[in-house]
């Protein structure tokens, strides 16, 4: 509920930032949510929940560029939509990443082989592992914050992160062997 986020937004700059994020991404959030839920009402519920997630994590997002925040918005929207989908349909949801965006992650030509290996790895990684990795490494969220956002237990978040690390490490070692 709202009050759990009270302690988190107390600087004027943060408050202004939240508003900026809302005005910039509200339509995108609804678009992504609607493509999953196919319901105007539920899609708008997702918009509200995503904004709560933004407020909850504004201290981490505050310093980021709007384009960087887009990734967080997409991740949060996807997960919240998936959660609502499960609750509404009362059945196991399909792959959380079933938005099926035609993505092709291509690294910067300047990237080293290691960077390309990791890029390929995270692009191919199951979303539940990619999300936890993205939230902790890129956005700097704690496990507790990740668990809250993803609506999982802290223990589950820790397990997913460990699994994600193992996947990345295995890929890196594989890459080293291949290119050495």
């Amino acid at each position: 509920m709202l009050f759990f986020y009270l302690s988190l937004v107390d600087l004027p700059e943060e408050k202004i930032r939240v508003e900026e994020i809302y005005h910039c991404y509200k339509k995108l959030i609804k678009y992504i949510a609607f493509s999953k839920l196919e319901s105007e009402e539920l899609a708008e519920e997702v918009v509200h929940e995503v904004m709560l997630a933004v407020i909850n994590n504004i201290k981490k997002l505050q310093a980021m560029e709007m384009e960087e925040i887009k990734g967080f918005i997409y991740l949060a929207t996807r997960n919240i939509s998936h959660d609502i989908f499960r609750k509404e349909k009362r059945r196991e949801a399909e792959n959380i990443d079933d938005l099926q965006l035609p993505m092709q992650a291509v690294g910067d030509p300047q990237d080293s082989l290691g960077e390309q290996v990791i890029l390929d790895c995270i692009a191919a990684m199951p979303p539940i592992y990619r999300d936890i990795l993205e939230l902790t490494v890129y956005y700097g969220l704690s496990l507790q914050e990740c668990a809250k956002l993803l609506k999982i237990s802290q223990a589950a978040a820790r397990k997913r992160l460990e699994r994600a690390r193992a996947i990345v490490r295995a890929k890196l070692e594989e890459g080293e062997e291949q290119y050495v």
Partner: protein, 229 residues
């Protein structure tokens, strides 16, 4: 934990991943036809409003001095005495100072001395459907947060002599001198919330929430006659 090198690689990889994601998501023009309902806009407006206003600062300020800011529009001449009970001139314990854009209310107790133990009080009456979700009290103040349905809330604060309350006058739709029982107070309202600020000579009390004025007064009157926490 990843080592520094791995972490750097991951951050750069995610940056590339985000670039690909941004390219795959619809652009601004494609999103143009999407509309959000008036109901949602109102909900978000209320959410953004709540995170901007004094309630957050009040609860979360590290300083012991209370500095609350309400945005309000001050219309000259709208202050009027609203009697709920009678104002007792001998209970005027507020120093009121008006400055450009706002007013400061400083409470001074005439009966308590420095070092007197702080006796916590809690409201005896809480409206139906509200539950206590957080107790922010410490040795020198009481702070109780109640949650109602949806975004409804009630906050009760009890403070020592010397505490000040700041009101920035912009967007306040209603403001008045008032009384709780025989004690002096002030009431402020805007589109979403009502705030009652009063004292009983010993302590400063603040009650704020999405309740009606009448409910707020009921809560306030139950404090003055209320029991120790």
């Amino acid at each position: 934990m990843f080592d520094l090198q791995e972490e750097l690689l991951l951050k750069r990889a995610f940056a590339s991943y985000h670039r690909a994601l941004a390219a795959a998501l619809p652009c601004e023009e494609e999103l143009e036809p999407i509309n959000l309902s008036e109901r949602l806009e109102k909900r978000i407006k209320r959410l953004l409003y709540h995170q901007k206003h004094f309630y957050y600062t009040w609860i979360n300020t590290a300083a012991k001095r209370v500095a609350c800011i309400l945005t309000a529009v001050l219309s000259i001449g709208t202050i009027a005495a609203v009697g709920i009970g009678h104002l007792n001139a001998t209970n005027t314990n507020f120093d009121v100072e008006t400055y450009e854009g706002g007013t400061t209310y400083v409470f001074h107790s005439r009966t308590r001395r420095k070092g007197d133990p702080f006796v916590h009080k809690a409201p005896a009456y809480i409206p139906a459907g509200y539950t206590l979700i957080e107790d922010k009290s410490d040795a020198n103040e009481t702070g109780l947060v109640y949650e109602g349905k949806g975004l409804d809330y009630l906050f009760y604060g009890q403070y020592e002599s010397g505490m000040q309350y700041n009101v920035k006058t912009k967007d306040i739709t209603y403001q008045s001198i008032t009384a709780v029982g025989e004690y002096e107070g002030y009431i402020f309202e805007n589109e979403f919330t009502t705030l009652l600020l009063f004292n009983d000579g010993e302590y400063l009390y603040l009650i704020n929430g999405t309740l009606s004025r009448e409910e707020l007064y009921l809560v306030a009157e139950s404090i003055v006659g209320g029991e120790e926490k």
